[in-house]
Symmetry: D3
């Protein structure tokens, strides 16, 4: 791989190491969703595509000291709380699943944000999670049963 034309200021093997380390990390965590985000930058800000790979993934996510599961829980919490980055929240909900965070843990993380950023932030986070989970596969049977119970309860109380 040659990276030279695209990033003239990053011309030697060490930056290539950061780039390749970051790209591998991006694939591991965010999978195809992450790659699509980077590719989508090619027409408008190609250098930013490189920086996204080098700094967040090559520098930060490649650090020891905090496991990937905790890192993804931290991101899901932060983006839910900030409430203004729905596309990135979805990418990282999928990323959390990819590194082994369970659906229950993701839902609990988002619910907890009601305490710190308010119920609308948590509700919109759950909407994002529903979309990602629906795309990722079947609902858990337990959730299905509970859903039926809630629906029945709400209707019965009306």
């Amino acid at each position: 791989m040659t990276n030279t034309q695209q990033s003239p200021s990053n011309s030697n093997s060490n930056d290539n190491l950061r780039y390749e380390r970051g790209l591998a990390r991006l694939r591991e965590i965010d999978g195809e969703g992450g790659i699509k985000v980077v590719e989508s930058l090619a027409d408008i800000a190609p250098d930013f595509a490189r920086l996204v790979i080098e700094f967040p993934f090559g520098d930060i996510y490649s650090r020891p000291g905090l496991d990937l599961r905790s890192r993804e829980i931290a991101v899901v919490a932060a983006l839910t709380a900030m409430g203004n980055a729905a596309p990135q929240l979805k990418v990282h909900i999928q990323g959390a699943l990819n590194v082994g965070v369970t659906r229950t843990e993701i839902v609990e993380t988002i619910m907890q944000m009601a305490v710190y950023a308010g119920f609308p932030a948590a509700l919109n986070g759950l909407t994002a999670a529903r979309e990602v989970f629906a795309h990722a596969g079947v609902a858990t049977p337990a959730a299905g049963r509970a859903a039926a119970t809630v629906a029945a309860t709400v209707t019965a109380t009306a």
Copy 2:
């Protein structure tokens, strides 16, 4: 109504009181829009559906000390200013209408947020209000006339 399977930690009559008091309050304020929000949680986070009813509506909105009209004005102001919770803002603009806040009062509340959160927040709040008002019924004649005048003015000045 039995609530037991769905919320094992809320097993006796007192929590059922909070839940039922909250559900009644939710219906009174947000009407069908509020019920839909809660029902939509059933498949992803059924316990959160219960918590939405118990804490905001059972605990907070059921408190004396501030009338419901003022509570809805406060929410419309806050969600307009925060600018990252459009679905909830719409539910509460409808909620404000439901408890007797007039369209004029809602529009004034949102306009005032231009001072505290900037013009974009107020503009996006007015967009939300337009959608709710359009769904809720006819425009006021006065607004219709004024709209015609503004359109004419802007065109004439071009």
Copy 3:
């Protein structure tokens, strides 16, 4: 009063009307706290001092369609929820008191923001209210009794 040197682009009687109407409104709502804010701008951005009087107070707060009590409840709610404007929140908690909002109503408005912007926003809003209330006069007897009860409870449970 001549306003000419200070605001050359606002040279006739109509803008003076906006300015004087705004200054009167500012005094009515925010009292000395508001005047101090404006005066503090004189050394750094004197035109902004004029704009603060003309637009928020001369244009917005002078509009009919929403009573001053509701306007101050809206501002206290929004600034509590935004959480990044403590000095202005304090000025408007005092402003709310000035136009007849009760301490209980202010506290309820801030507490309600826990639902929409999270508990930290509400806690910091209550801290601001405590400072303003302490400066404004005595605590309510009811709050005093309740405080003693809570303190006793927390200690007893330890």
Copy 4:
């Protein structure tokens, strides 16, 4: 042009001056996008349409002391960083182009916000820029070539 019916509190020649000065500034900066925003207010908050023209454009953008190019760079930076005002960000990206800010300068401004408001804010800002640029005309040849290189790199590394 008579402005009287629409804005009874602004009845004389001086406020008409602010309004006309603001309207000219709005056309110069935001072009048709800005006019559409104002016209869209006519049915819901016609007075706000007037205030948008008078305060931001008649008062602020008409001030000396900061050139229009810098003002538009400042707005693109701020709205990118806030991340909750996509429609207004697009209007001002077009506005920046209208007053002579280049595409490269706009992209650099948005990329820089990754440092101050995070990568999601910058990514969403770039998405807004892509939409505006696509509507405004052809992509720059340089960007096109770089895009091809990035796409090839990402694919090759997979």
Copy 5:
């Protein structure tokens, strides 16, 4: 313990269970810092003191499905990213230490927020962590050595 006078709407054993469960959880996580926050509410909003214990701690933190270490990492991430709740961030950095999150993990969580909320948010989060760590005890030897190296590097390069 009788809780009756203070919270008349919470008059039976079940709400006392939520309150006591929440108070135990608050002590476990936040320790004395959390208790002080609650006690400080006694004079201004005694009912909010009860709600802080019942909802965040009695309802949310008492849920299974996400371990306490992950919950504290989520809160430290979110409050760092939001950037407007320094007092609560400090309480939860201490809380994270209390439930077994290491200093390194806390620092990594905060550093990671530079990616999602910008470098200022991360810098201010690190400032909060420094204050909490200084109060909690000695610095790690590794950090001390690294600090000396950085200081030397910066000076040498000047």
Copy 6:
């Protein structure tokens, strides 16, 4: 200068180039204030000190395509609008002065944020500017005269 012990993952000449380029840029823009921020990280997060130099300053501020004056105007605008990063805003107001932005341009940039992020954000930005200007030297005579006029006006109207 050897950088090896402190940043093992950055072991060759190219990363040293980014670091040294970034450190030079940091000195040029933020001066001693910037260096102090970096040094203050040494005890808590020494690697973050390196990353602050490498990414924002080595990668972003070293890019062509946007002049430093425009970059500093963009940062002052963004941090004023976000309203939750006062220490960094002050560093960058000084930075703007350092690269040739005038006091008037800084004040105009901050005032303009009243339109996009509300008057409190602009007021708090002006407070930050006042502190930086006071530390940096004498007030401009023009501002002094205007201040006297405003003070007189406010008093006379009382």
